[in-house]
Amino acid sequence: MNIAILGNSHVAAWKLAADEAERANVDVTFFAATSNNLLRVKAEGDEIRASDGDLLQQVRRTSGAAAIKPDDHDLIVIIGLTKVPDLEARFSSGVIDMLVGGIREYSGAAQLLRKIGPMTAKAVVVIPEPLPADPTPKYPPNFKPMSYKERLAVLQRAFPDATVLGQPEHTLQDQLRTKSGFSSRAPRLDPDADLQPASDYTHMNAEFGRACWRSLFDLVLSGGVAADDVHVDRSAAG
């Protein structure tokens, strides 16, 4: 199986844990840039290409090439270019419909999908940013969030042609946070750069990346996505 991973700084955790994919005999091509910079790629024929200087440098560091052909891959995974919305049970269906429309129109993942959509009919998985691992979060007064699962279902509505995959359940501290251990020693997208600072609770580490790979393979093996080739060697994987 051959997977293309597109995204932002959250791809770093997946990249550092890429041995998990290797052990499963899955080929991976990373194509990522920090923040929303990947949205600056240009669609040219059947490929997306980084054409300006900084972006070119960033994607070359992750993929080795300046362009990627989505249709060359069995599965396309978009990581970190959208968020699981902070929704509370008090919001009406009208409010939620409006938010879904906003994510569908303006999120980075949706914008990238609009670029690659005409190039391929391959299956796409959208993976939102992990929840923060902030040990002392500040919520508005009387904050009563919907469950992570319910909020993920709302996000799925914004991506009707893709499969939205949330973070593995065992990585969740509660409905709003990732367990703090997963954010220690989190890498940056640039492998030569220092680790993320200890005060950064938004990026996750290799252990988190490993858990995510396993979760993605579980999705593929369960038939949760219609990829062309779903060969994943789980016996070799950890």
């Binding site: 968020k83 919305p85 929704l87 009208g94 409010v95 009387n142």
Partner: protein, 340 residues
């Protein structure tokens, strides 16, 4: 013994306080009874004009608080469309003191009415007819949303340091069978008008004063140390349901509200802020109104808020130029559509 005028300050005399001064330099129009600081948790409700207080408090980093906030995923445009963070709970406009008392009663245990309005299959809240631009999917969803607003309003009453209310109207519409009040005449924004059920009342001084006093008692039952700041909206009526000319009706309405505000604020924990005077008084020559002589222009709003911040804080907090949001959520303005 000198007569009492002898030792009065210049502001006490029209000649020195007003006539000899450029209208933008008229000062000392308000001296707060107590400090209002950035540490205070402030909630705001009332007519359209109250929204300026919320916006200005927020942008000057005072502790304006919404107990029913938008989510961070919501753009400011969508938040406003759904009336989030317009007032400190999603009550919609509260134009009268009786409506304020009604919300306070619901928040302290009185059961709200079960009335639902429909337009096709969409459900509308008679007490917040514009809270959702396209209504609610079901009556249950509408009721659940109203319960949230009531709970948030209760938190506002119980957990604020300063409760700010802008009195807007004396004209009101009631359900004659059950006695409750609607914020807007049924059949204008939503619902259907029934002449046998829906009764107009232009409230008296005593009614308004008593409802305001009862509201304060209810708030104090949850929050004994609360301070209240009342103000009167300078915005004239969009339309009157009386037989009077709208200008005469406006003067009647604002005069009564202003008189109530004066009487009710004769209390150490209650203050009156002169928004009304700052816009409508003769020295300002109507220059703070838009050409329709009704809407307050951004200069007027900035003038009011500068006076407020100048009195409660330092000069740095009272900028000469303020960004003023002129896009308010105003149900009453929709009555313009019924004018011929």
């Amino acid at each position: 013994m000198p007569n009492p005028y002898k030792n009065q300050p210049p502001k006490a005399f029209w000649a020195t306080g007003v006539a000899a001064t450029h209208f933008l330099d008229i000062s000392e129009l308000w001296t707060p009874k107590w400090p209002i600081t950035k540490a205070d948790r402030i909630v705001t409700f009332g007519s359209c004009f109250a929204q300026h207080f919320a916006g200005a408090l927020r942008s000057n980093r005072y502790g304006w608080t919404s107990f029913e906030p938008a989510t961070e995923n919501m753009s400011p445009h969508i938040a406003k469309k759904f009336s989030y963070d317009v007032f400190s709970a999603r009550t919609g406009n509260i134009y009268t003191s009786s409506l304020l008392r009604q919300w306070a009663s619901w928040a302290t245990g009185e059961a709200p009415p079960s009335e639902v309005w429909y337009d096709g299959k969409r459900a509308y809240d008679p007490f917040r007819p514009r809270i959702e631009p396209n209504g609610f999917a079901t009556a249950d969803e509408m009721m659940a949303s109203r319960e949230c607003a009531i709970e948030a309003f209760r938190h506002c009453m119980a957990d604020c340091d300063l409760f700010v209310f802008t009195l807007g109207l004396t004209e009101s519409w009631f359900n004659s069978a059950e006695g409750f009040e609607y914020p807007m005449c049924p059949g204008t924004i939503a619902g259907k008008f029934d002449p046998d059920l829906h009764r107009f009342r232009n409230q008296s001084f005593a009614e308004i004063r008593d409802n305001l006093a009862e509201t304060i008692t209810l708030i104090r039952s949850l929050n004994p140390d609360v301070r209240c700041l009342f103000t009167v909206s300078p915005v004239p009526l969009t339309a009157t349901a009386t037989q009077d000319h709208v200008l005469v009706a406006t003067t009647r309405s604002k005069s009564v509200l202003r008189a109530v505000a004066a009487e009710i604020s004769d209390n150490p924990m209650i203050d009156y802020f002169p928004s009304y005077e700052l816009i409508t008084a003769p020295p300002f020559r109507g220059s703070f109104f838009e050409p329709n002589q009704r809407e307050v222009n951004p200069h007027g709003v900035a003038h009011v808020m500068r006076t407020f911040f100048g009195a409660v804080g330092s000069e740095e907090e009272a900028p000469r130029a303020m960004e003023v949001d002129t896009d308010l959520v105003c149900e009453e303005e929709l009555l313009t559509a019924f004018g011929r």
